[in-house]
Symmetry: C2
Subunit: 386 residues, 2 copies
DNA sequence: ATGAAAGCGCTAACAG
DNA sequence: CTGTTAGCGCTTTCAT
């Protein structure tokens, strides 16, 4: 695994608290990691020459360069990133903050951002704000100036703070639109229109939207797009909720929908939709026969499999692309000089994926009415809820 | 939201590339963030006094301290973490590296570690190595000395590298045991024994273990514990695989198990077990009637709901506790002076959660044989696989 | 109690 | 092409 002469993954050298060295005797605790001066002395050159040999590609004689390189390697020298960052102000690191690492929606964004960052020479550190505004601010405060820029996904911070922050550090938003702050957003309008038309063409006369968190920007967007499309299509639309955007929230959402006699629901996200599915099945109802269910996000794709039956019809967000775009946007705004004309906004269209959870409403099949047996069953279920 | 006189979430001050200031005219791009010298000048004291007022609790006259504090606040001064870290060598940050942020098993570890870190005054940054040894090494290299220590979860690095690394920086392993390197591990032995006894008492005569990644330390541990317990119980045990430890891997795993005539399988993890469940159901078989299924990790608890039917019997790992313990271990090893006697190893026992996916094998119910109808069905299914 | 000075490890002019 | 000299922003002796 290690050819002779090849650099080991990690140097043999340890390090100690910087302030405890100085004396010539090695401070207790372990060997100190070599600095650029150690290399310089050993190679018989000045520190700046070492610095150049290591960082500036074209300069210096090939010979000294080679000597320096080999000494550096022998000593296991590795530049201290902090010391390097202090004068330059650049850390080659970007921070990605998400409200909930547990939520599959963010997986794709994270992967996309991380990969794009790496490709462009940046390391990415991730922080989880656990849906807390305070924690998000805390993370930002701690990481500020320790990274070159932030990608904030579904930020919970107030507009004002975001606008303020963008003045002092490079910043890109995902899934949140604040004028004046660079952002990439998912444009659901077209896909939502397709979804509504899809349901209308199946014979549904009205749709119920199962809302997500009240403070969610996405929720507002989704509801707006839905209502608009429904009006255009001439079918009914109502809003229920808010529900917790997790599988667990599906129980209440399903119960409420049944009570309203819904034949088709569109849930704020897949997790909620899955919860609805489970609840319906648990009550002995069928999907899509008794109820068509549509989600948002297509998390099935991310976790690698359809894991519901029937598989969920969903509005799929281009998550990886969003992460990638966010990093590109960020880097373009960090661009040295005349980046005045940098793009401030990227909109990415989502796509409707039609699968098994949407279909003709049973009621529609029997000449617009409900068969006596179904009616009885539905009645039983509904009254149980109220 | 902001009382007057209260500090805003973020200062009004921007910053520019450090090297471009120096000249008295504000460099283009925005106002520079104030340094400790700006505060010192404004307050009419020396920089060192400001430093003390801000960092050393008890010292200095209360009066000057107060003046400095108010000037600092007025200027929106916030110390540069990099500059602070350079002399002290301490960043108050720890890095957590996981092989796959997508895997629910790690959620709990992450949350546990992050919270414990916060409680003890450390920020936590997270990095995803995407199951790649190279990426893990890359992350470590990049973060080395930019953080005070690492928590490596299910590290893919070779023992040697880990041992080497621990000499130069504080390091704790989770779910991996390397002698000489502090680690917290999940002790499955007792819970596995319970699981085997549970299956044996239900009437299963043999068990099949569906293996995870060949390189996985956990896999080896689980298999060892299983084999040992099975031998003690006097029931058969076989190993199949390796399978991909995701839902998708369940298809092959289920098919292979059916082909072998298994009545009970224990899967490397819940994801694989869920995949097996799905495949069995897809083939028209029932659980636990035709096959009992046991998983590892209890990810259902983490995602907030049982999301399989039947709910999965599983060996639950104390994940949050593991994260917490890892951070404590790490911090104790970073402890300044005579921490020679620090604990090197923490073992946390897992628990068996019995749910609906395990039961009496149908074969056992009909006097040890298989009913003609089941036999025919099983035969059909099995031959389809071969 | 406070100030002056020396550095942390590295990079970036500016000379030679 | 290479060495010397100044810092980056902060902490920390060591004097005063």
């Amino acid at each position: 695994m290690n050819d002779p002469g090849t650099e080991r993954l990690f140097s043999k050298n340890g390090r100690v608290r910087a302030s405890t060295r100085r004396a010539s005797l090695p401070a207790g605790g372990g060997p100190a990691s070599p600095t650029i001066h150690d290399v310089a002395r050993e190679a018989g050159v000045a520190a700046s020459t070492v610095s150049r040999a290591l960082s500036v590609p074209g300069r210096g004689s090939a010979e000294t360069r080679q000597r320096i390189l080999s000494v550096a390697q022998r000593l296991g020298y590795r530049p201290n990133p902090l010391a390097r960052a202090l004068p330059s102000g650049r850390t080659a690191t970007i921070a990605l903050i998400v409200p909930d690492i547990t939520n599959p929606f963010f997986f794709g964004v994270i992967r996309g951002a991380e990969r794009q960052g790496r490709r462009r020479g940046f390391a990415t550190v991730l922080a989880d704000s656990e849906e807390s505004t305070e924690l998000e601010a805390l993370h930002i405060e701690h990481l500020d100036r320790a990274v070159d820029g932030f990608v904030l996904v579904s930020s919970r911070l107030p507009d004002q703070d975001l606008r303020q922050l963008t003045k002092s550090i490079a910043l890109t938003l995902v899934n949140r639109v604040v004028p004046g702050v660079p952002h990439v957003f998912i444009d659901n309008r077209d896909a939502v229109r397709q979804a509504v038309e899809h349901l209308a063409s199946l014979g549904h006369l009205s749709i119920i939207y199962l809302a997500g968190p009240r403070a969610s920007w996405s929720d507002r967007q989704r509801w707006l797009a839905l209502r608009r499309s429904a009006e255009k299509c001439g079918i009914g639309i109502r809003r229920l909720g808010p529900f917790s955007p997790e599988i667990g929230g599906g129980t209440a959402a399903a119960d409420a929908s049944i009570a309203l006699g819904a034949t088709a629901v569109v849930a704020f996200n897949d997790l909620l939709a899955i919860g609805v599915l489970h609840r319906l099945l648990e009550l002995g109802l069928t999907v899509p026969g008794d109820m068509s269910v549509v989600g948002f996000d297509d998390i099935g794709k991310i976790t690698g499999t359809e894991f519901t039956s029937p598989p969920l019809t969903t509005v799929a967000a281009p998550v990886e692309e969003a992460g990638r775009a966010a990093v590109n946007l960020l880097l373009s705004h960090m661009g040295e000089d005349g980046a005045e004309q940098a793009v401030k906004e990227v909109g990415l269209p989502s796509e409707l994926h039609i699968r098994g959870s949407t279909g003709t409403p049973r009621a529609a099949r029997v000449t617009g009415g409900v068969s006596p047996r179904r009616a009885a069953k539905l009645h039983r279920v509904r009254s149980r809820q109220s």
